[in-house]
Symmetry: C2
Subunit: 312 residues, 2 copies
């Protein structure tokens, strides 16, 4: 995207809403996505094509994608757990499809009841499906490397295993892989080592993004290191809602507002208008009054006399 | 201190307790300090020699210092606002005395009702007083550069002004200066620039430490950058309690537990036993049941199978 140094990818409407029991009304989701796109958010993961019985919170994903596609300039991303979901995603016209693979096989079995081999087969099927779409309608296929920094069930996840799975996802037909700290185990040194290793294996252009949590308060410190290693897209969730329902004790996406403030204050162009972004929060709090929202910048507001460092 | 890469300086018993209206019983303060020192904390700012009428929370500072001095290996630090406080500090036997100077003169007037010139005069008097102490009893004198990253009253604080005040504090007789984000305005790029500029001016050995807040969630990201710039001592407060009572809207010291976890997980030796440190928290929550405690690591616990990266 022109004129943007670092892209934030808002995952709240998917990762956030799937992790809470409340169901946000479809109209509120649309208002949220529209307002955040109007604030300059370049990419929003708007939903997940999963069976409505399993995840009623996201049952309206088709309608949400259709709405999001009417917003000019917004990249519309969705998650899919399998080929069936990918078929629905292709029909919907989403620009980007992510299929997660838990590097911890224990977590994979707990989360989607599938082995690595089974997930990789599904990825190959999805890649073939996408290849069959008309050239101008082919979504980008991302393989999400879940539990890349550790697992609440297995504990330590070896770096070599993450690199192996990154290579296998690419070989199975993904356009790119995303490194994901599903469980909030990442630390700065670990981020540096793992991002470097994965990008060295698959090529930097095939591993542009990272998904970090703030489980132990290190989220933004981890982002800093990821940027130093060349990462250009960072996931975050408005108000920090969301986490991973199948990873007990794991919670807390990076807060979009705090991340956007940090990047802006560092003089990095995100395309986001901070004042407008902070105003989006009220849409979510009004629609989900019972859910806790996180974030320090929304609480403190912008510093007095604030201007991005680059503009001083 | 031998075998330590980065020192954390616990400021909760001073900065934390002065910012809340509850008064912690003297016995609880002693238990806190003892337990945290036993967890390996190398330095604790245990109180402030201010008039008890102004700050009844810290009226027992003399007794607290006496207790802390019985703990072998602990560096005992105190804050003083003026020469009278420094006299009391010298009598107490504290190892380190910090006198703050607000680089924002507006903040200085609001906080201690003094101009820069008046504070610098006081620093000269204190330096002379310290010189008169027996050689083996001379405390280290630190000048604290408050509001170094911005002021909730003045807004932007020019970097040149911070550097100027650092030089003047050293010329007035300080042994070292500490850079302090009193108001939570610091951002990673700003930390890098300011730490570099101050250390270039006074020499790196005279600016070893930084005091950062987590007001906008950037606390640990800012620490990372400070470490990259050579800082070796980082202030933090157990449970993140404290802030600056004269800077409206400013709140939230860096959480000791999260900082200690981050450094440890990065393979940096802090001398701190994380499990023991996390256990100290209960002393504070029991003594101050009505006060909010912050921190992500205490909530999430250490990751499953956790070991410092250096030991894997």
């Amino acid at each position: 995207m022109s004129g943007i140094d670092i892209e934030i990818s808002e995952v709240g409407p998917r990762d956030g809403l799937q992790s809470i029991s409340s169901i946000m009304p479809t109209a509120a989701k649309k208002a949220w996505i529209s307002a955040e796109a109007a604030a300059g958010m370049p990419e929003i993961e708007v939903g997940s094509f999963v069976p409505p019985k399993l995840m009623p919170q996201l049952a309206d994903t088709g309608e949400i994608v259709a709405h999001a596609l009417t917003i000019e300039g917004l990249r519309v991303a969705v998650l899919v757990p399998n080929k069936k979901g990918a078929e629905n995603a292709c029909v919907s016209g989403a620009h980007k499809i992510t299929i997660p693979l838990s590097v911890s096989e224990t977590h994979s079995l707990a989360n989607v009841r599938r082995t690595h081999a089974q997930v990789l087969n599904e990825v190959r099927d999805i890649a073939a499906l996408i290849k069959d779409q008309p050239a101008d309608k082919r979504p980008t296929l991302e393989g999400g490397l879940s539990t890349a920094f550790g697992c609440t069930l297995e504990g330590v996840v070896p770096q070599a295993k993450v690199v192996e799975m990154a290579e296998k996802l690419m070989a199975a037909g993904c356009d790119e892989v995303g490194i994901s700290d599903t469980t909030g185990f990442a630390t700065p040194t670990h981020v540096r080592q793992l991002v470097r290793a994965v990008r060295a294996e698959v090529g930097p252009q095939a591993a542009p993004s990272i998904h970090l949590h703030n489980t132990r308060g290190l989220g933004l410190a981890n982002v800093l290191v990821a940027l130093e290693e060349g990462i250009t897209t960072v996931d975050a969730s408005l108000g920090g809602i969301g986490g991973c329902p199948a990873a007990p004790g794991a919670s807390g996406n990076i807060v979009t507002e705090d991340l956007a403030f940090m990047l802006d204050a560092m003089g990095l162009k995100t395309g986001i208008d901070l004042e407008k972004l902070l105003a989006v929060r009220s849409i979510v709090t009004q629609a989900l009054p019972q859910e806790e929202m996180y974030g320090f910048t929304p609480e403190a507001g912008l510093p007095l006399g604030y201007a991005p460092l680059a503009q001083r």
